[in-house]
Amino acid sequence: MMMNRRNLFTNFAGDNPSAPKSTFTPHPASLGASVFTNALLRTHENKEVKFYDELIKGRQVIINLMYANCDSACPIITSKLVKVHEALKDRMGKDLFMYSITLKPEQDDPAALKKFAEMHGAANLPGWLFLTGDPYDIETIRYRLFRWDHIKFDLDPDVHASMLRIINDATNCWTMAIPQSSLYTILQHISWADPPKSLEERLEENKAIQEKINKEVKQYGYRKTT
């Protein structure tokens, strides 16, 4: 309970997670394919992939729902995702992946998805796949990943179409972001599912947050603190 600088560091040496993994290992508590399904999906490159085993297992992923000829939200969301990809390009395809799943698999074949991806300059970005598949499988994935345990919403395919599902299967952490948020906020939410950090890293982050707060206080220098 008592703490000084020295045992602050020694106490938590055990928390230090292992070095970055070369293989993707799911968290022991991950429900795996029984939740995600191992549906066979097709990428915009017309490659067949098993949803859980090849795309999710042990990885940190960002998933959104879209369809190619959607005029309103989808282009805005996709262009935001391009910015997200740009900001995180060092991690993309290595320990972070992005999947855009069509809500209208009947009309979106791989070619249609590829055209949509090319339109946004996203067709050849590492770690980003556009996915289509059997409508039943897609509906199952939508329900399982974007559900809200409320029948009124969960049966409506438009619901949560605007949400970014963020999952880290290695730590079994699920969270989300809203594409309409600022890029800064979206990146922050993605980081909520990052692999656990060592205490030293958390303390460094904490220091950076404090500097940001100090800057704000300085900006509004008249904030009364007494």
Binding site: S34, V35, Q180, K197
Partner: protein, 658 residues
């Protein structure tokens, strides 16, 4: 403000704080109860806190199981221990002690004026807890390893600092998030200690929350503020953005009670005391309600059902103070129960049922920590309460007085919840017409009064603060619209973003806010919570045809639906609140002041599953016109960028000064 005036204020604050201490209840209660009880409290405090954490839970899949059978009324109602004051090392500081491992924050406001007198330590960590004799222990996250947390008992005038340490596991199999930020609901707390949802910190760090335990109105009244602002029943809980339901389901909450002359923590005839039942744990008992669902026994545990990626599940076991269907021995006298709904989502509809199966009366004396002007006795169904049930939404607190002298020794009385839980053990109806599944807990009348009964409940419990209701004109009016767009919860068209401010108010002003529920799907009641100060409801209206005539508001027929009309527990002339239940199509108009502190605060739906889906936004209190204008321009700019009507994000009307 001149230096000279400041000094005067400081002096006057010292005087009244000392006076408070002299007369205040904490000291008195400790003298009376101290010798016997302190021994056991001490024993509790000295339990080793370094025991190795329990094994992480093995969860039982994604399909909600039926909880195992539990025999009713075998466990006694646990009373959370009073938190034990301690000394803290490193010593708390005004600026965040970054080098010592404190989470980042702005400097404590009014730190010298309210330099802490008393210190507590609450460590969030994994532990196990037994929810029933028939169940194996369950994996929980609790403060100091306890569910519910130990209760902080305190007094106005006694400035308090609670160090919240995060010792949650670095990696967990539970659905909780091992980062935390603690909100004291609904403390008049400076922003940096208010548990803002974006201010969470990870394992290994701690955060000092500074609770001045002063009444609102410090600037105007000096000293410890306006005593009419007295609030008494608080609770503290995790507020981590997107994971509040999960972390609270795991157990991260507890009670915080503040005494003053009116409500002194004892029952003696002291000046100003209302003389309500007031011995914590003896005649003044917290009832902390939640619902849980349990997996079948495995690995030596009955884990709480939870699914990673989901919010908190609906429970099929009703839990009071951490036990399923407990019993409590009572004497023939008055008791006060501080009923708290910790959610995450369930609404409770409660009544007291006597041994013959008929509803027994109870008297509501306080709502959301605030004494009603006139107590409200519920003794059966009325047009305002068709079922006779008291409806308690998430995060609301109701202090009720039950007089057990109306029963005989040997009789039992039951707390009834309208919804049925899964008991699993065939049990005859405990009272005629009362199925066992409806019973939350049992009170056994075992003796005549041992501690002499308190006098009759006063017919008025005191004056509410003035200067807020009409004809006073608010400095600004503002509307908060709760909507569901494309399956996403929004407030004024936007979801939660810790980095974005959606409304800005000037410190020291009073505003009139309309909370408007435009979520038509599901016809949910959103229990809207506003941080920082208590509000006064002016009116409640409904839109009978929200689709074709979205802006035609009709006053609610007050007599029709409980919790919808202005019942005595929400009428601004009689009550103050911090949780405003908002059914579909309803609009609640309320007034609130913004005094003494500045910074970031929240308004959100307190159904924690909704809150975690970002039905929450940030508003700021500022103390300069420049900052006010700058932030208002930011709001307008962001709304323009998002294609939203700018005027919906700005005050509807305001005085020149605001």
């Amino acid at each position: 403000m001149s230096k000279k005036r400041k000094k005067t204020k400081k002096e006057s604050s010292d005087v009244s704080r000392r006076d408070m201490l002299k007369m205040g209840g904490a000291a008195g209660a400790a003298t009376i109860l101290g010798p016997t009880m302190l021994t056991s409290w001490k024993a509790y405090a000295s339990q080793p806190t370094t025991s190795s954490p329990p094994a992480e839970p093995v969860l039982c899949g994604a399909t909600p199981p039926a909880s195992p059978a539990t025999t009713p009324f075998v466990d006694s109602l646990p009373i959370p221990f009073p938190a034990v004051p301690t000394i803290l090392f490193p010593t708390p500081t005004k600026a965040a002690n970054i080098a010592g491992g404190e989470a980042a924050r702005a400097d404590h406001q009014r730190w010298e004026e309210f330099s802490p007198d008393i210190f507590y330590y609450q460590e969030a960590r994994a532990a196990t807890h037994s929810f029933h004799r028939d169940l194996l222990p369950s994996y929980i996250w609790g403060f100091n390893g306890r569910y519910p947390a130990s209760t902080v008992l305190n007094a106005y005038g006694l400035s308090t600092l609670v160090r919240f340490k995060n010792k949650l596991p670095a990696v967990t199999s539970s659905f909780g998030r091992n980062e935390t930020t603690i909100h004291l609901h609904n403390g008049h707390t400076a922003s940096e200690s208010d548990g803002f949802a974006g201010d969470f910190f990870g394992p290994g760090l701690f955060k000092d929350n500074h609770y001045a335990n002063a009444y609102a109105g410090i600037d105007a009244f000096g000293g410890i503020g306006d005593p009419r602002e007295g609030m008494h029943t608080f609770w503290f809980h995790d507020h981590r953005a997107a994971f509040t339901a999960n972390n609270n389901y795991l157990g991260m909450n507890g009670m915080y009670i503040v005494y003053d002359q009116k409500d002194p923590g004892h029952e003696f005839n002291t000046p100003g005391s209302l003389r309500l039942p007031n011995y914590y744990g003896l005649t003044d008992i917290p009832l902390i309600l939640t619902d849980k669902r349990f997996c079948a026994a495995a690995n030596g545990r009955n884990e709480m059902f939870q699914v990673v990626g989901s919010g908190a599940p609906g429970g099929d076991k009703w839990v009071v103070n951490g036990k399923i269907q407990p019993k409590l021995n009572v004497a023939r006298r008055k008791y006060r129960f501080r009923i708290l709904n910790t959610g995450p989502a369930k609404v409770w509809n409660l009544k007291l049922v006597g041994p013959t199966g008929t509803q027994a009366p109870w008297t509501i004396v306080a709502v959301d920590a605030n004494f009603l002007r006139t107590p409200w006795t519920i003794s059966g169904n009325t047009t305002a309460l068709p079922t006779g049930d008291l409806q308690i939404h998430v995060a609301s607190r109701y202090d009720v007085i039950v007089d057990f002298s109306q029963f005989q020794v040997g009789q039992s009385v039951y707390l009834r919840e309208a919804a049925v839980q899964n008991v699993g053990v065939a049990t005859p109806d405990p009272a005629p017409g009362l199925p066992i599944g409806n019973v939350l807990m049992r009170f056994d009348v075992v003796s005549n009064a041992i501690i002499p009964d308190t006098p009759a409940i006063p017919s008025t419990l005191g004056d509410l603060p003035t200067g807020i209701l009409p004809p006073v004109v608010p400095d600004a009016t503002f509307e908060w619209r709760f909507t569901l767009d494309n399956g996403q919860f929004h407030i004024n068209g936007l979801p939660f973003d810790a980095n974005r401010v959606d409304h800005v108010v000037m410190k020291g002003t009073m505003e009139e806010w309309s909370l408007r529920n435009d979520v038509l799907a599901g016809n949910w009641v959103h229990p809207v919570h506003i941080h920082f100060e208590e509000g006064r409801i002016l009116e409640r209206t409904t839109r009978l045809d929200p689709v074709n005539q979205p802006d035609v508001h009709t006053p609610v027929n007050l007599q029709q639906v409980q919790g919808v009309g202005l019942n005595p527990d929400e009428d601004g002339n009689n009550a103050r609140r911090d949780v405003y239940p908002l059914p579909g199509q309803n609009t609640v108009k309320l007034r609130m002041k913004f005094r003494d502190f500045t910074g970031r605060y929240l308004i959100h739906c307190h159904n924690m599953n909704h809150e975690d889906n970002f039905m929450m936004v940030r508003w700021d209190i500022v103390d300069s016109i420049a900052e006010l204008r700058q932030k208002r321009e930011q709001i307008a700019q962001r709304r323009r960028e998002a294609g939203l009507p700018v005027e919906d994000g700005l005050p509807k009307s305001r005085k020149e000064t605001a």
